[in-house]
Symmetry: C2
Subunit: 84 residues, 2 copies
């Protein structure tokens, strides 16, 4: 099995109202040292060893379903999981 960790983040140029809301809340809680917050998504996929081309599969999955590449970037890390 492969464990693939996918990180999807809004592109730098895209406004992040959810992040702004969290920053506002943190300031109201007196965490004024927090200067910026950006919110993204984190996904862990467990993929079978039988996959033909792991990198191609992960890229396709990200681009078709997990990320909206118009406004979001994604990156991923692969870990090999030893049989449990």
């Amino acid at each position: 099995m492969y464990k693939v960790k996918v990180f999807v983040t809004l592109r730098e140029s895209v406004l992040d109202p959810q992040g702004s809301a969290v920053k506002g809340s943190l300031h109201r809680l007196n965490y004024n040292e927090v200067k910026d917050v950006r919110i993204g998504k984190y996904m862990e996929l467990t993929i079978d060893k039988s996959v033909a081309d792991l990198n191609r599969t992960v890229r396709e999955v990200c681009e078709k379903l997990l990320a909206n590449t118009v406004i979001e970037d994604y990156r991923y890390e692969v870990e090999e999981v030893v049989a449990q």
Copy 2:
């Protein structure tokens, strides 16, 4: 500035209906090699150098606002950002 990357994930024992829905969609798209999907949150905080105790601040922020520690775990990574 510090850039703190926070990962919030559901605890292993907690059902993840959002992950199940994504897995179902992937199977409908014929990605049957994907055996499991877990969805989490990813947040990037930019924190000022003036912070008194970075680790304490990040832990407090996570436990008060970013993660629901009853059902979620969190971990974080700190990067130092050189003046831009």
